[in-house]
């Protein structure tokens, strides 16, 4: 059984799965229930001077009948008094000494205000601090959150103020709403930060109600841009995490956040160098119970791959990310359709014709339009003697790849609904590896 013990910037936890700062970590009762369910740590819902929230606060992007592919919120930091939050942190730490409790903090940009909140939070027993420089809505209008996180000088300055008195590790949570996230990460490092959390939510409007014409979420006929998260943002988060973990100038450990909803995403963030993982939307969707499969799935995968600890594979994929100019121009793959698995849906065929390079063919048809026209004129009748063969795909419906023309783009393989039906096989071009950089730009 793999060992999931996590050591991150001086903070320990039994596993890398932490609740991200947000509604699931709003109060002590919630955090305790989360720990009972198996979560290794929690970043408390951001503490600061209590605010007033609006209703409604969330909206989502649904896709093909699936709910909440992406979630957007305009909720602010905690609406509960600082002393209540701190008292509950103390209670949780007393009951769960081995779990990580990190306090997310956001106060006005005054040195004294930051000193006071840091002192009080550490006195309550928090294992670490996470500076919320990322919240993209509401708080940024008041000079906090991403208003700080978008300006390297501000980020550095406030990190310095915190580090002047902090006794526990200090994490800086980064906003993705910047041109280059590494600039802020370097500033945080210069300010003395011990680690990074990335990413916070993305600026977004999820949609517009087609009956009322009000964008979502609707607050009395008006809306405001919110922070986007959930499965849809994972690719953006993975890229930014890779940028941070792969940046020698930054060199700080990273807690990965953004669209993690299962063990597969968790493994991906770890392979790109993360030390811990934070989850919010998936818990908001399904509850704390999802952590069971995350722990079990990650652990089983590690056993299968022969990894005993998280360090055994952390960052393993970083070296595989390079600039495009270093990719081998002479590496070639082609699509191969396994006819015995093909169900005859024609999706690879039309995708290749309309969205790629016209190298998948149906015998006897010069174009998709001709294929459809012939099908429409073919007479069909209810069969008189019934023996419908549902088990086999008619040979005429199985597309064929012109391997000479195939550019190996992957599109057919991506659209094919049947696992392993289309394989992207390497072919020997007979040419040695050569990148654009090696070839030299003309």
């Amino acid at each position: 059984m793999a060992d999931l013990t996590t050591h991150f910037a001086g903070i320990q936890s039994p596993n890398p799965f932490w609740l991200a700062s947000g509604p699931p970590s709003n109060c002590g009762d919630q955090v305790q229930r989360a720990f009972d369910a198996g979560w290794g740590g929690a970043v408390w819902k951001t503490i600061g001077e209590p605010i007033v929230n609006v209703s409604s606060r969330y909206s989502s992007v649904d896709w093909n009948g699936l709910r909440m592919m992406g979630l957007n919120n305009i909720e602010l930091i905690t609406d509960r008094p600082i002393e209540t939050n701190l008292r509950e942190i103390a209670e949780v730490k007393k009951r769960y000494p081995k779990h990580a409790v990190i306090a997310s903090l956001m106060v006005e940009s005054r040195r004294a205000a930051w000193h006071e909140i840091v002192r009080r939070t550490e006195d309550a027993g928090a294992d670490g601090l996470e500076l919320n420089f990322g919240c993209p809505h509401g708080m940024s209008e008041r000079g906090m959150g991403s208003a700080v996180g978008q300006v390297p000088e501000y980020a550095k300055l406030i990190t310095e103020w915190v580090k002047e008195i902090a006794r526990t590790p200090v994490l800086v949570k980064l906003t993705p709403n910047v041109a280059d996230i590494r600039a802020i990460a370097r500033a945080a490092k210069a300010g003395g930060a011990d680690g990074l959390s990335a990413i916070n939510t993305l600026n977004s409007i999820t949609g517009v109600d087609l009956d009322t014409f009000t964008p979502r979420p609707d607050v009395g006929g008006q809306s405001s841009h919110g922070g986007y998260c959930g499965p849809a943002v994972k690719p953006i988060a993975l890229h930014m995490v890779q940028q941070l973990a792969g940046d020698p100038e930054c060199g700080l450990p990273v807690s990965g956040i953004g669209g993690i909803s299962g063990w597969r995403e968790a493994a991906e963030f770890l392979l790109l160098g993360c030390h811990s993982l934070q989850v919010c939307t998936a818990v908001m969707h399904y509850g704390y119970r999802i952590v069971e499969d995350m722990i079990e799935g990650l652990s089983n995968w590690m056993d299968e791959k022969g990894f005993r600890t998280l360090d055994d594979f952390r960052g393993l994929s970083l070296a595989r990310v390079t600039e495009w100019k270093h990719l081998d121009l002479n590496y070639k793959i082609v699509a191969r359709i396994h006819p015995e698995l093909c169900i005859g849906c024609g999706l690879c065929y039309i995708a290749c014709w309309d969205g790629a390079h016209q190298c998948i063919h149906i015998e006897g048809a010069a174009t998709p339009e001709q294929l459809i026209a012939e099908s429409r004129t073919r007479l069909a009748q209810t069969p008189a003697v019934v023996a419908v063969d549902t088990a086999h795909t008619p040979a005429a419906r199985i597309p064929k790849v012109d391997e000479q023309e195939c550019v190996g783009c992957n599109l057919c393989w991506l659209v094919c609904p049947v696992e392993s039906c289309i394989a992207m096989d390497p072919v020997d071009t007979g040419r040695p590896a050569e990148s654009w950089a090696q070839r030299g730009a003309p």
């Binding site: 009948g65 005859g344 024609g346 209810t382 419908v388 549902t390």
Partner: protein, 441 residues
């Protein structure tokens, strides 16, 4: 419970409508195949993935139009099509997770929305020269007439019965399609501007000669004749009623007298309809006699399964030879059969086992051994070729040997499904339109 409520409960739909959410989930399951096998298997070539994706996107009006543009009888086809051997039988999902998309019920969902909103199709002015008569108001004629009228030709439908719709109104099992739904479809065709002359017997009050004087083109969608008689002694006894009459009677009256022990003779889908209807109407037992064995039975497998579930008792290799009774049917005398060598079509021919006679007591007997051909009626038209009692047509255009006459549906195909009649009516409409345009330049 009133009789009407009792009847409605006994004949509750076997494929109930999908709820809105059910339909969405099912629609989203569709892979959206290209050159989709379901659309190719449909005789009317409805763009099935197209209408399903419109359900998924919430464009129900557009979904209904996609269906109706290919098949004006989308409502009845959604309910009565043997989808297991057509669109759903062709669905690639059989080879994906074994669960074909419920195309029939999704089509019904879009159709129910269309008819529920009271929408109508755009009616074209009858601006083109040429008049067309459609004889028979069943699916073939409705489909042909609608397509021609939408193109701007004037069309009149004639039928000898008081209601239009043909077998959709009078002959389909009540738990699949109700007469009221069939009439909604008729009204849609009427709203396009098609004229209906009902209770009008062609060859009787309206002679063929007059018909030809008044119309440039005649489409024959007359279907088939009465149920063939068994031609055995005792067939005239009270308690003997042929399957089509029995079905029409219970459907139009909302019930019909039924025996305690009912025997149906025949192995087709109509025989199954009659046997299951008898049970629903209160018969204690329904027996079905078929002269061949289970494997040769022409009824669709799902119809056979339904009958078995409902308790119909099957008697294979059994042929009636006489009906006995003093004042009404009391029993049917049968003889055992055995199967001989295959005939030219590959079907093994049954022959009687001498001395194997036995009697089965019953108080109602329903012959259902297929419909007769309308030989006398069709003989009135000049230059019309018949084959096996059916009108010979060019399958692409529906044109008969007499260029003024076109035909489709059961009278041309020998007796198939509603969707086949709809497809043939549509193809004939295209053929007629080309002919009229050639005639009138």
């Amino acid at each position: 419970m009133t009789d009407a409520q009792q009847f409605a409960a006994s004949f509750a739909e076997i494929h109930p409508p999908l709820g809105r959410r059910e339909a969405l989930v099912e629609a989203n399951r569709c892979l959206y195949c290209f050159d989709a096998p379901c659309a190719n298997a449909c005789p009317t070539h409805i763009d099935v993935p197209g209408f399903i994706k419109k359900i998924a996107s919430g464009n129900l009006g557009g979904s209904a139009m996609t269906i109706l543009n290919a098949n004006i009888l989308g409502l009845s086809c959604a309910r009565v099509c043997p989808v297991e051997v057509l669109c759903e039988g062709a669905c690639v999902m059989h080879r994906y997770n074994q669960q074909p998309i419920e195309i029939g019920r999704l089509q019904r969902h879009a159709m129910d929305h269309f008819y529920g909103t009271g929408r109508r199709l755009p009616a074209a002015a009858a601006s083109k020269p040429g008049r067309v008569a459609c004889i028979g108001a069943g699916p073939a004629s409705l489909s042909c007439a609608a397509a021609l009228r939408q193109q701007g030709f004037a069309v009149t439908i004639f039928d000898s019965r008081p209601l239009a719709g043909g077998l959709n109104t009078y002959g389909v099992a009540e738990y699949k399609l109700r007469p009221a739904d069939s009439q909604r479809e008729v009204e849609l065709v009427r709203s396009l501007g098609v004229e209906f002359r009902l209770s009008a017997e062609i060859g009787g009050a309206l002679r063929i000669q007059e018909l030809e004087e008044q119309f440039d083109i005649v489409f024959l969608g007359v279907g088939l004749g009465r149920t063939q008689p068994l031609d055995i002694p005792g067939e005239g006894l009270p308690g003997v009623i042929d399957a089509l009459r029995f079905i029409a009677e219970y459907k139009t009256r909302g019930g019909a007298p039924v025996g305690r022990r009912v025997v149906v003779v025949g192995g087709g889908n109509t025989a199954i309809d009659a046997a299951t209807a008898a049970l629903r109407l209160g018969a204690e037992e329904a027996h079905l006699l078929y002269r061949r064995s289970e494997t040769e039975m022409p009824a669709f497998e799902f119809e056979y399964d339904l009958a078995k579930r409902e308790g119909v008792q099957f008697h294979w290799l059994t042929q009636p030879v006489a009906i006995h009774g003093n004042t009404a049917v009391e029993s049917v005398e049968c003889v055992r059969m055995e199967l001989g060598p295959p005939d030219r079509r590959g079907r093994r021919q049954p022959r009687q086992v001498p001395g194997s006679n036995f009697r089965l007591s019953c108080d109602m007997l329903i012959p259902s051994i297929g419909q007769s051909r309308l030989l006398d009626f069709l003989a009135q038209f000049r230059n019309m070729q018949l084959s096996g009692g059916c009108v010979v047509v060019d399958p692409a255009t529906g044109q008969t040997g007499n260029p003024r006459y076109f035909a489709g549906g059961d009278c041309a195909n020998g007796g198939r499904e509603v969707v086949d009649a709809a497809a043939e009516g549509k193809r004939a409409a295209a053929g007629i339109a080309r002919r009229l345009e050639a005639l009138h330049g």
